[in-house]
């Protein structure tokens, strides 16, 4: 559960994500549409199809040190690259004067933006206290402090500090080692008014299986919930068949 006094550990992980969907809607094929009322003039309405290619590459460098047999301290420094290619295809679907017949629309110029950013993300400082030792396992309390070091305007951080309390327990049953953890994160208000933050909670349940003398397999079920944060909801379809028969994400 902890490394032991004087033990030093350093490492890195690399993770690549290419996002496909948000709230079940395809990000790339124009399935996400927004209705913009009173645009460009009062009483008009625009339907905007959005397509987004979003990829993140994250290197996390971590270091841990065993202060005592029961206490570890560690830090994790993420180096992040975010790349985004977004386009919006707007169609004027309603005019206040009724000059656009139902089922027709007036295409407006397509807007496209491409960009990327890289840099340090939000750094995490961790203290772990092993309060229960058992052969092959035990239980620990972990306290993380998340520093708002990532540049939030470029999606490298949240601009919000956070404190997380996590309980971790594991045991060993022959070649199988089950583990669980559960935690709650208190998240401060973001300094970036464009980013909505709130507290989070989550848990992990999983197991490790010793396959050979050198190889261990791991399986995990991971759950995480951010409280009181806006979700995409399906709204009523706009008037006009050019907008498709399915619902339109709004909000």
């Amino acid at each position: 559960m902890t490394m032991g006094a004087g033990t030093f550990n350093v490492g890195s992980t690399y993770q690549r994500s290419t996002y496909d969907r948000v709230e079940g809607r395809n990000l790339r094929n124009g399935e996400i549409r927004f209705l913009v009322p009173d645009t460009p003039a009062p009483g008009d309405q625009v339907s905007a199809e959005v397509s987004i290619d979003l990829t993140t590459d994250i290197f996390v460098w971590f270091m841990s040190f065993g202060l005592t047999d029961r206490i570890d301290v560690s830090t994790a420094v993420p180096l992040i690259r975010v790349a985004m290619d977004a386009s919006m295809t707007p169609t004027l679907v309603r005019r206040a004067d009724g000059s656009i017949p139902p089922g027709q629309g007036v295409p407006l110029p397509v807007e496209s933006r491409t960009g990327s950013a890289s840099g340090v993300g939000d750094i995490v400082l961790r203290t772990k206290y092993n309060f229960l030792k058992r052969p092959g396992g035990g239980a620990s309390a972990v306290f993380d402090v998340r520093l708002p070091t990532g540049e939030s305007d470029n999606l490298l951080g949240t601009a919000a500090p956070g404190g997380k309390l996590l309980f971790v327990a594991s045991t060993t049953l022959g070649r199988v080692a089950p583990h669980v953890n559960a935690g709650y994160t208190i998240v401060g208000k973001s300094a970036n008014p464009g980013i909505e933050t709130d507290d989070e909670y989550g848990y992990v349940a999983g197991l490790e299986v010793v396959a050979t003398r050198r190889v261990t397999l791991a399986l995990d079920f991971i759950a995480r919930t951010i409280t009181n944060v806006g979700r995409l909801r399906l709204g009523a379809p706009p008037a006009g068949p050019q907008n498709g028969p399915d619902g339109v994400p709004i909000n």
Binding site: G11, Y14, Q15, S17, V22, E208, L219
Partner: protein
Amino acid sequence: MGSVGLKWHAGRTWLLTSGVFFPLGDAGLIDQLTWSVGFDWTR
């Protein structure tokens, strides 16, 4: 989400890790399959 991973004790105090993460629902921003690799060294 779910994850499946593998840890390989590469010798002495070196450990190599790899894993994949996959969604188990539709909530939030989703990657169909996220992969990761890593290493760590202990003294």
